[in-house]
């Protein structure tokens, strides 16, 4: 790294964010803020039914309503308007129903769009949408994944099955470990076997900015602004599915108000807005309402997990078998099928399990489609393994941290190839755990817990542990290719050295709250030795950042940031030839330091920004070299990076009311080198609350007709400031070896780790009362019922949570299909 003499290093500095100025003064460019001359507004007519044949659509009354410009149905676009693609078929024979933006014959989930009303104002469009008369013939519908597994009611009758794909990883077959069945059999004979069914309820990403799309078809290129995480992928898929030449499409993600995976999608609404704008030759805008967003933007999670863990009697785990059933909703979304599969490499987590098997069955249902939500596959896996490790500790009467220590990879053992075949580059679980215990006050809280238990305090204290790792930085293109993923995982960057000494950095990542403008400026300021303030980071516009794979999977810094480093190094190398020429020195005698090329052993030197000005004029430059020092770079990592951390949560549970209250939450995350600690803390805080919200509050609930009951913020209960607490967060540092900055991703860490920490804490508070499981979200009602149930049936054992076989029915006591019981 370049040392900077005059200024402190930017990397590691708590720089306040550049982005803030426009955001705190209301000068932000949200898509919905855009108004263009002659612009028309769209309102969607959506199916209220989960599964139905469309028998007729009468648009006449709507067409004649005041200020309506047009009303379209699928029949108006006989050649189609593009498609919502699945980019990751997890098996060659995956069942993948066609996903058309505008449906003409049959709707497969509530919220699907059957007509679009175009009017001079959004209000007029919405008024007229009420006048579109659609006749439906309802079809039998299936909502729950376990029901869908029976193939009695088909989500897509023409497919003949609800089963989309089955995916397996077996350590014996892969040669990365032993045979899990043998391990289980051995432990049944002489050891401990823990069998559990856990439920990952369905969540809704619920970004704060509703999705919005504006399309301007005037001019040579069609311009689409969209509230998306993936402008580059969107542009590609518009071209690939509509036939519009890619060179005629420009996609801009302006300021985007959060995503959390929820805007990692190409949406029906984007294709419809595009089609309407092209048909009318006028700019068109669509902005969803929150209720539309909750039902029609993709959902997350929704898995049934069956875990079987074997161990010796002294707590050494010998095998883990995972069987997942994942609800994809009505369609296989862009990476919907792949999200649960990402768990394949994460259920074994930080542990040295000798044998491992992962099985995942994805199924189609007549519900909103499911795809990435913060963590995407890794929170589900972390929840499963951290829950069952606590259950094993309880079974053995061990401290849960001691059990983990007995099984985790020690810091001397890195790099470590896991039983799932992943090579963890670096880590130090001992250090993070030791620090977290101190921060948390572990021993004192354990003492208090003991005291409350002995005194029979109605408010019991529980301590929850979650020691997690995750794979982040999607990712090595060759690895993705081997998994039949439709794209690569590289990232692109470019650096333009402006003649006035300013620097433009172009990144192919597309931030929506992460602070890339600030962090990338810090990296470049250090590398090129220019002031932080002189660096401008440009992104989210395919005309400016023409190449990129966007932002998701904690990839931006570890892949995109590294691309920026490589581009900067190219600039330094290119400018060196000019500097040598101008200094009349041999390039080999030059040293680049603090933004200047100096002739070693002399006072002679020239700044890199002076070289930029000299190349702008180009009055005097070396023969045989083109006059310019700008550079671009594409970085494709060799491997993922593997952040980890130890999260500890103390929860007070009122056993008389079932109310849980988080008292203390401490976490120590190891994310390698940190570019900006302020931003890292923010990412962790936000991640924690999303994970805690899964544990305590959030769930997408459908009723028996497939209607989303939690269809507004009245019922889908996002946490408020009053529900949450302040956190204790720190870091340990094991630099990643898969990028030169030594960084690991942090965007998803908090969400991945916190959910099991909270649920483990609740169970730890009431386990002595006989409670073995509480289905998420752990509402007071569910906790109270669990306590009552446990005390009523003095013997609560495995029968309380039957494994999911066909006869057992729906093991989830609180979710899909029984909304009336809430």
């Amino acid at each position: 790294m370049t040392a900077v003499d005059e200024r402190p290093a930017e990397i590691g500095n708590r720089r306040l964010r550049k982005e803030d100025q426009r955001l705190i003064t209301g000068r932000t460019k949200w898509t919905d803020n855009i108004t263009l001359p002659g612009m028309v507004h769209l309102a969607m007519v959506r199916s209220p039914f989960a599964h139905a044949t469309i028998t007729s659509i009468d648009t006449e009354e709507a067409k004649s309503a005041a200020n309506v410009v047009a009303v379209y149905t699928a029949a108006d676009f006989p050649d189609g308007i593009g498609a919502c693609a699945n980019a990751w078929p997890i098996t060659p024979d995956q069942v993948t129903p066609d996903h058309l933006p505008l449906v003409g014959e049959r709707v497969a989930c509530a919220g699907e769009i059957v007509a679009v009303v175009v009017a001079r104002s959004a209000a007029a469009a919405r008024d007229a949408a009420e006048l579109v008369d659609v006749e439906y013939d309802e079809l039998p519908a299936v909502f729950d994944a376990l029901e869908a597994m029976k193939d009695e009611i088909l989500a897509h009758p023409d497919k003949g099955t609800n089963k989309s794909a089955f995916w397996k990883l077996d350590s014996a077959e892969a040669g990365t470990g032993g045979d899990v069945e043998e391990a289980l059999a051995a432990a049944r004979n002489d050891g401990v076997v823990i069998e559990r069914n856990y439920r990952q309820q369905r969540l809704i990403p619920a970004f704060m900015e509703p999705r919005s799309t504006v399309v301007d078809p005037t001019g040579e290129q069609i311009t689409m602004w969209s509230a998306t995480q993936i402008p580059h992928i969107l542009r590609f898929l518009i071209a690939a599915t509509t036939g519009i030449p890619e060179s005629k499409v420009r996609v801009i993600a302006p300021d985007v108000g959060g995503g959390f995976g929820g805007k990692l999608q190409t949406t029906p609404e984007e294709f419809i807005t595009l089609a309407v704008a092209r048909r009318l030759g006028k700019p068109a805008k669509y902005t969803e309402t929150r209720s539309e967003s909750l039902v029609s933007a993709h959902h997350g999670r929704d898995q049934y997990q069956k875990l079987t863990l074997s161990a010796t009697k002294d707590g050494v785990v010998t095998g883990l078998k995972v069987e997942l059933i994942a609800n994809l909703g009505a369609y296989v979304a862009i990476i919907g099928g792949g999200v649960p599969v990402l768990g394949a490499w994460m259920f074994n987590s930080i542990y040295k399990f000798p044998a491992y098997q992962f099985n995942c069955q994805t199924v189609l249902t007549n519900t909103t489609w499911v795809d990435a939500y913060r963590g995407a596959g890794r929170p589900e896996a972390t929840f499963g393994i951290e829950r069952i490790m606590d259950d094993l500790a309880a079974e053995l009467g061990m401290d849960p941290l001691e059990l983990r220590e007995r099984n985790w990879i020690t810091h001397e053992e890195f790099p470590f190839t896991s039983v799932a075949g992943m090579t963890y580059d670096s880590g130090n679980y001992e250090a993070a755990t030791a620090r977290a215990k101190v921060l948390f006050g572990y021993d004192a809280l354990r003492a208090e817990q003991k005291q409350r238990r002995e005194s029979g305090d109605p408010v019991q204290l529980g301590i929850g542990v979650s020691t997690f790792t995750e794979m982040c930085g999607l990712a090595p293109s060759r690895v993705l290719g081997s998994l039949s993923y439709g794209a690569g995982g590289w990232e692109s960057a470019a650096i333009r050295m402006l003649p006035t000494g300013k620097v433009e950095v172009i990144t192919g990542t597309s931030p929506h709250g992460q602070g890339h403008e600030t962090a990338w400026s810090q990296i470049v300021a250090d590398r090129l030795g220019v002031p932080f303030e002189d660096v401008e980071v440009l992104h989210g516009d395919t005309q400016i950042a023409y190449k990129g794979l966007d932002t998701y999977g904690s990839r931006s810094l570890v892949v995109g940031g590294e691309a920026v480093v490589r581009a900067a190094d190219k600039v330094i190398e290119k400018a060196k030839a000019f500097a040598a020429h101008l200094l009349e020195a041999n390039p080999d005698d030059l040293e680049f330091k603090a933004g200047r090329y100096e002739v070693k052993g002399t006072e002679a030197g020239i700044g890199i920004t002076e070289v930029a000005l000299a190349t702008f004029a180009s009055h005097n430059y070396p023969e045989g070299i083109e006059p310019g020092i700008d550079a671009d770079a594409t970085f494709d990592p060799d491997d993922f990076s593997f952040p980890h951390g130890t999260h500890l949560c103390a929860v007070e549970v009122d056993t008389e009311t079932g109310q849980s209250r988080i008292r203390t939450y401490a976490c120590v995350d190891d994310i390698g080198h940190i570019i900006n600690p302020l931003i890292v803390e923010g990412q962790v805080h936000g991640g924690l609350v999303q994970g805690i919200a899964q544990a305590l509050w959030e769930e997408a609930v459908f009723d028996e007709n497939g209607t989303l009951v939690t269809g507004s913020f009245v019922d889908y209960t996002l946490p408020t400031a009053a529900d949450t607490i302040s956190f204790l967060t720190e870091n340990t540092t094991s630099p990643s070896t898969t990028n030169t900055l030594g960084t690991k991703g942090v965007g998803e860490a908090g969400t991945i780790a916190s959910t099991p920490a909270v649920v483990n804490a609740i169970l730890d508070a009431v386990r002595h009362l006989g409670v073995q499981d509480v289905v998420m979200p752990c509402t007071p009602e569910r906790v109270w019922k669990a306590i009552q149930g446990a005390s009523a049936a003095a013997e609560t054992t495995a029968e309380a949570q039957p494994h999911f076989d066909a006869d057992a029915g729906n093991a989830d006591t609180g979710s899909t299909g029984e909304g009336n019981d809430q």
Partner: protein, 156 residues
């Protein structure tokens, strides 16, 4: 249409509006005050919070005609003479925003909260912000920012 006269961020405006027009839509669509945003349909999220005669209101929950003859202050009107409002400055310093979508409403609510209670406890800050949702920050740094402004005022 109904004629209304509303002073917004110091500017007097006279407009004809449909009686059903919400204040937030009047601000955004008629006046171009797009700093104030819409986040939900149910008055839960608070992203649209502005001040009506100095008190915070959710502008999706007020009709434009109800603002007739009144003064509205939005996020665009609280910085004076190029100086950020102390609450804006504190949000910046404490990293109390990420995507920034909730931020205008959150700042307007936080200002109102301190007008009501200049020296709130953490619990009082949290309760005072309960009507404003943020999905990015986990509220930790928002609470810190509000406490910082309260501390500054207390020291004056």
């Amino acid at each position: 249409m109904t004629r209304i006269t509303v002073t917004v961020d110091g500017q007097k405006n006279v407009d004809d509006v449909e009686p059903r027009t919400l204040l937030v839509h009047y601000l955004r669509e008629t006046l171009g005050k797009v700093g104030t945003v819409v986040g939900c349909d149910t008055s839960n999220c608070g992203a649209c919070t502005v001040h009506l005669d100095g008190r915070s209101v959710k502008s999706c929950n007020v009709l434009a005609v109800q603002a007739d003859g009144h003064e509205v202050t939005t996020i665009e009107g609280i910085a004076a003479n190029g100086e950020l409002h102390p609450m804006q400055q504190a949000f910046h310093e404490c990293h109390a925003l990420q995507c920034g979508y909730c931020t205008p409403g959150m700042i307007m609510q936080a200002i109102d909260l301190l007008n009501d209670n200049p020296n709130p406890s953490e619990a009082e800050i949290r309760a005072g912000l309960e009507g404003n949702l943020c999905r990015c920050t986990g509220y930790h740094n928002i609470v810190k920012a509000v406490a910082q402004v309260a501390g500054q005022k207390g020291g004056e």
